[in-house]
Symmetry: C2
Subunit: 188 residues, 2 copies
């Protein structure tokens, strides 16, 4: 066997979906780039985001609300910028056009194809990060990102991140239908 062991500190997923998480901090819309995110519950839909201490967290903690915004490939530079510069030192609110749904504490990004307004369902403290579990209350998109009334990843055109090499990646080719293509093996 050619398997080799590598250090656990380089254990990452390949690839990780990139989003922008938003909150209102000290009266101002603030966003940060997040790649450690997952859907975590079926009903109600819940998402977990794992955040190190950041300026955005202050708003999430205070308001018990945050947004998840899925950027497209045209926003890769801007998204990266939000991972480089803290809102505590720089007003990043002018980079995007911000809109609001029912809550004025949940800033949403107009340029992002999919935006979710979430309330905090739970927060799990881990050694370095806090896992904020959020329940979407409103989901916004545009007709142009949908096909047959479903969100269409090729129209959304999102991107992913790899670590520790630190690169962004587009979505590639369609490899087949889930919960269908595996049926070929059932006959064997």
């Amino acid at each position: 066997m050619n398997k080799i062991k590598i250090d656990t500190s380089v254990a990452f997923l390949y690839p990780m979906p990139m989003v922008l998480v938003g909150s209102v901090v000290e009266g101002r819309a603030n966003f940060m780039a997040v790649g450690w995110i997952s859907r975590v519950n079926f009903n109600p839909p819940l998402f977990a985001i794992a955040l190190a201490p950041h300026y955005t967290n202050k708003g999430i903690y205070e308001n018990r609300e945050f947004s998840i915004n899925i950027p497209d490939v045209s926003l890769v530079e801007k998204t990266d910028y939000f991972g480089l510069v803290s809102g505590s030192k720089t007003d990043k609110s002018e980079i995007f056009n911000v809109f609001y749904g029912e809550s004025d504490k949940v800033p949403l990004i107009k340029e992002c194809p999919v935006c979710m307004s979430c309330s905090v369902y739970d927060a799990v403290k881990l050694p370095s990060n806090t896992l904020y579990i959020g329940e979407p209350k409103e989901v916004f998109t545009e007709e142009k990102y949908m096909t047959d009334n479903k969100l269409d990843i090729k129209k959304i055109n999102p991107f992913t991140l790899t670590m520790p090499d630190n690169h962004y990646w587009s979505v590639g080719e369609n490899l087949g239908k889930a919960w269908i293509i595996g049926k070929n093996l059932k006959k064997k």
Copy 2:
């Protein structure tokens, strides 16, 4: 504004990384397909997987250990099969070549470019799913999946899932370097 609201039940990430999670149940290696997974802590590295009640969970619960295996695109049919058929009814252990690291309770898949043996750090009960948080104890790969001593996504060639349209996707083009390309906006 052209934003429309859609139902929160269709709130998913675009795209979701696909892995195979393994455990030993009733003395037999068992795996399931999982797309709800995220790195959740920096130090120690921790991963969260959100599992609905499944046969594999029984082994995770009993042994407090499980594996995360990242399949490549050549394994998309086999991975899908593991999401279609329960180990409670079908012995799926012959589909892959299984190997073990230090623990005989953590089955790893030889065909997968990256395999992690994890111990359960915590388990968070959510309404439909349980969030198993695991700490990797051993990470296995092969030289052919690395470039300059780092895992290389183009060599790993993993795939992702979208829901609720239920499609698998390859990884596309390199869009630039994270924590670098956003610096262009700093000057503005």
